[in-house]
Each structure stands twice: as C-alpha cells, then as structure tokens.
Symmetry: C2
Subunit: 179 residues, 2 copies
Amino acid sequence: MASQANARKGSGRHASAPAPDEGTAMRIGDLARLVGTTPRTIRYYEEIGLLPAAAERHAGVHRLYGASDVERLREIMSLRQLLGVSLEELKELLSAQEARAALKAEYHREDLSPARRREVLAESLVHIERQLALVERRVRELSGLRDELRGRAKRIRALLAEGKQGAAQRRKAAAGGRA
Amino acid sequence: MASQANARKGSGRHASAPAPDEGTAMRIGDLARLVGTTPRTIRYYEEIGLLPAAAERHAGVHRLYGASDVERLREIMSLRQLLGVSLEELKELLSAQEARAALKAEYHREDLSPARRREVLAESLVHIERQLALVERRVRELSGLRDELRGRAKRIRALLAEGKQGAAQRRKAAAGGRA
DNA sequence: TCTAAACCTTACGTGAACGTAAGCTTGAGG
DNA sequence: CCTCAAGCTTACGTTCACGTAAGGTTTAGA
C-alpha cells in the first residue's frame, strides 16, 4: 500500500539513496558485515542521531548505504574503541564533522565569497583540533603507561639474566627493584 | 613505594587491616575521594573480585585501606579508561598482577631455590608482556588516528594561508584537496 | 508473477556498571 | 560513656548499548 509517487525506477534513484550520487548501494546487512557489526546497532546509531537518517525514506522502505556511510561507520567504531567515549559524546564530537561535510559541499560551490569560505575552513579547523587534542592527550597517557611497563619488563629481564650466570647473592646489591 | 618494615603500631590491629603492614589506614570514603570515585564503586569492585576483599573482615566492620590499595585502585581506573576494557577483562589482566604480588613476597624470602626464583620472574615477565602488547597496539592505532587528524588540519591550514594572500582563483590549480 | 530472504517497525529483554534508598551498626571524637 | 557521621548489608532502580522476538513489508531473483 501507499507506494507513493515513486515510480521513477528507470535508472537508479529509489527512495533513500545513499548519497546524492554514490556508486555502490548496499543494504543494512551488507554494511553491518562490512564493518563488523549488526543491523540492530546501525539502526540504533541512526535512532540516536549518530548516523544520519536518509531524509527521504518512507516508513518500511529498506535503508540504502554507500561508500561514505561505510567510512563514517568505520570511523565511529574506531573512535569509540580508541577514545573510549560514550555514543553521546561521540555524537557531539562528530556533529562537528557532520557540519564540516555540509560545509564542504557549500565550500565547493563556485559562487561563494572568500570571506565565507574562510569562515568554513576556520570552523573545520577548530573541530579537528579539538579532536586532535583529545587524541594526543590519550597518546601521551598511553605512552606513559607503555614506558612504565617496558621499564618493569626490563628490570625483570635484568634479574633473569643476572640469575642465569650464578651470583645469587648479588641480588642484595641491586636491591629496591620491584618484582 | 614500599614502606618496608615500619614500627609496629602500639595497639593497632583491628579486623581488616589494610595490609600486613602499611602506614596510613583510611576508610572507604577517603579512598574514594582520593582516587575520584564513590564508595559504592569500590564495594562493587570488591564484589566482583576486582579488588581483593580483606580476608579477615567480619560482617559489618568498616573496610580499611592503605597506600597499596590507593595505588591499585588508581591503576584499575587508569587502565580501564586507557584500554577501554570491561571490568571482567581487566580482572583477568590484573589477576596476573595479583599473582605477581604474591610471588613477589615469595621471591624476597631468603630460602628460595634459584630455579623457583627464575620461574617466578619468568611468569611475571609473561604477564607484563601481555599487557605491554595490548598497550602498544593501542598506541599504534591512536598514533595513526592522530597523524590522520594532523594531516587534515595541515591541509586546512594550507588552504587558509593560501586564501589569505589573495589569489582566489589559485584554488583551481590546487584542486583535489579535501576540505 | 511469485517466492523467500532480508528488511521494517515496535516493543520488551539483557548485561554491565554503578546509583539510591532503607534500616541498622561502628568507631572517632568530645 | 555518648553521639552521630560515616559505614555496612540488602535490595531494588537506572542508564547505556545493544539483543531478540513478533508480525508485517520490500525486493532481488527465478
């Protein structure tokens, strides 16, 4: 019922196209398999606004995705895993990127004042740098942890090497080493 | 950080001492404030076996913690945040460390065969290296992300700089730059 | 045209990681 | 010794991030 005025199946263009014009159109199951998740998760992300909800999709019609959606979803899952943030925080972080995508389109139009163009770029830069700061902090912290662990490993290896060639009493000299 | 053989407290020794001999004994609320969490969380961690449950504590008696507990809890929260693992996974990861702590005690006894000593050390090394591998992978992934973001920022800054000194048409020449 | 797999919506269920409330007990300080 | 803030146990509540099931619809393909 209600098949609407959508009879234009001639070539491409069904409801809910993946993007203005992106080659490969896949369904939710394919996308899920591709990025290693489930349809439910993808729908959930859409539901909470983490993934954009193809505007022109009538109730019941299958969702369609393109290459950019794959990329986006991959990025989401990667960021989530790496930064360990909640989906809500991630959404905020990426709203930046969404805006950037929109602005990117705007940016590439020929009729755009240089001033506006600069505005768009500047805003993008702010967003990226915010993400960057987050990531860099994280890298620093993790590097610290890594170095600590390396130190411990090194100390143990030293003890092992020392023990190997006799000198069991030598240990007292090198006291303080935490096992 | 080992406080070594401290002067025995005059009349210390209530149930649930923080450790065989650790100076500062604090209650759960203090510990919570110190590491930035809540008593409930600490009890929960104990409940699921992530924090050791002072063996000799009779029902109803207040929990007491020492410096090593602070350290332990800090490490837990840090690892959890940095590695983004579940408490269950973390528990496994740390069971290693727990064992190490136990073995450390054993290790420092004078009467211990060099062979056994080497065993203890080797096992410790395995555990540490497992953690290390995890952390290093994480660092690599995050570094990749960081570099990607840096690249994007750089490109945008280049566009901004270019736009700044006139030449609005120059853009066409440097086409392909993703906003 | 017909079929069956994949998808749709809606809604309730679940595990992890705590939050919160109630009623009672402990223990540090006056 | 008394008090009362802080703790204790028990138990139900909550948020997040999906899982799962039911019942109907869409759509690729024979």
